[in-house]
Amino acid sequence: MFPRKSVRNKDGSQKKRSEPTAAKDAEAERGAARKKATGFSMAYLKSLHRQVAVDSLRRIFKTPFASFLNCLMIAVAFALPAILVLLSNNLQSLGHEWEGQPRISLYLDNKLERDEVNRLKVEARDDPDIDQFLYISPDEGLSDFQERARMKGVIDALGFNPLPGVLELTPRNGLSAEQLNELLRKYRVKEGVMEALLDQEWIKRLESMTQLLERFTLILSVLLGIIVLLTIGNTVRLSVESRRAEIKVIKLVGGTDGFVTLPFLYMGMWYGLGGALLALLIILGVLAGLVSEVLELAALYGSSYTPQGPGFSMFFSLLASGIFLGVAGAALSCYRHVRTIEERP
């Protein structure tokens, strides 16, 4: 920028200072400044970033307890929505597991003859979409009902059996909801079938519940993400304040805002990363505490269901959002605070 007699650089090409003669007017001057700003060699950038990354990590470890508390706060904010995501994932897969065994109940006309019922049974047996079937005759239904509901008197007073015969069909595994509905329509129109019901209501309820849970998790994630952003921003702000004198000196010997900001961006990154890793530990701890109970409960329902842990995708999205929120929080904080250091025109 100033006229100089000689340019001293070991590998002159990239870190070249702007030469005086051409740089007279402001436009050329700005261009030169920009060229200098972006013209750093790869070797320089590498060594600078390595040094700054290590240095900011060392600063974090200088106050281990305070840094740990910071990370813990970030970790809890990450762990909460992550656990909710796990919960809704598990509910969904629970739904999928049982969705494979819905039942179609065919309520038959009471006046149906025995061989007509048999014809329906044969049809069900030969249907490749039907896995199993079970016929409950009106008499069986009645005795079952009386046994369960202890309403013998009421039925006796009626003087006849009001219950229809029921043919319960279990479709084969892996049918989609649409295929199930088609199957339902097919049997509904058979002769002698008064009504056909697909026993699927509770799955729908489960689905809408998981949807609600997902929406809730999303909102909670956004709110807690903001908390992470603010936590890291605040930590970085305090660090900027404590290094005020140093920043001022760096600026006066020609350090750009970017140079001044870099250590703080790394600091935010380390906090975000540390928080994410700690969050992973919390999640695994919570799962370890719950898994035996869940297995017991599943066994009670005769299910071989095992809960799912955080997979690779959750691991990576936790780390990625930790790094992203850390750097973003630090950048937001620095943008405001680094500029105000030093009396500016």
Partner: protein, 222 residues
């Protein structure tokens, strides 16, 4: 190298830093800026460093109208000025070597690439054997010399010093002043602010005297 044209700096609240000040410091010149504290010495240096902007008048540094520089250009502008502070402003979280290397690192040199020039600068101020120490372990005079090494390490065409001998005894002060003279002898423009009138008079160089913001005397003593 430095030209002030009717420069006035008033601070919010009415305090006058500089009033209608004009002077021209030529390339390769050495000058001392004196006056009581509060006379405007620091204001003048801050205006040159673009830490402040004049209320009126224009300031040319190195052939540039400083009012035309954009915010983003200021760091690159400052890399051409070696600045020496009264309280040396060294960073105690790093070694002497790293303190001196700072301007070179900022300008885009790797640690490895700086080594030669850092040692050369430390050699000039006579502290080559102290490069691995922490500045806190050094005496006041040594710390100030580290500050000087940092100011000259990237061979700036202009050196500004704000009370560089303020905290030093007379012998050390004279040593520091001689270092400024030696920089000037190799072509560097030097402007030193000091309230130590006796010391400044002994140097027998141009003296700019400020009083309550006015430039009251500009004498060549050569």
């Amino acid at each position: 190298m430095i030209r002030f044209d009717n420069v006035t700096k008033r601070y919010p609240g009415g305090h006058v830093g500089l009033e209608q000040t004009s002077f021209h410091l030529h390339r390769g010149e050495i000058a001392f800026l004196t006056g009581h504290s509060g006379a405007g010495k620091s204001t003048l240096l801050k205006l040159i460093m673009l830490m402040e902007q004049p209320t009126s008048g224009s300031i040319w540094v190195g052939g540039h109208d400083t009012s035309k520089l954009k915010r983003g250009q200021i760091p690159y502008f400052r890399r051409n000025i070696g600045l020496v502070f009264q309280d040396h402003q060294l960073l105690f979280d790093r070694s002497v070597f790293d303190n001196v290397a700072l301007p070179l690192i900022i300008a885009g040199n790797t640690h490895h690439e700086c080594a030669g020039r850092v040692r050369a600068a430390l050699d000039i101020v006579g502290l080559l054997d102290k490069e691995k120490m922490n500045p806190a372990q050094l005496s006041g005079g040594q710390q100030q010399r580290v500050g000087l090494a940092r100011a000259v390490v990237n061979r700036p065409p202009l050196i500004l010093a704000d009370e560089p001998t303020g905290n030093l005894d007379p012998n050390l002060s004279a040593e520091i002043m001689q270092l400024f003279e030696s920089f000037n002898q190799v072509g560097v423009t030097v402007l030193v602010a000091s309230h130590d009138l006796a010391l400044v008079a002994r140097m027998r160089h141009r003296i700019l005297t400020l009083d309550q913001g006015h430039l009251v005397n500009d004498q060549e003593v050569r």
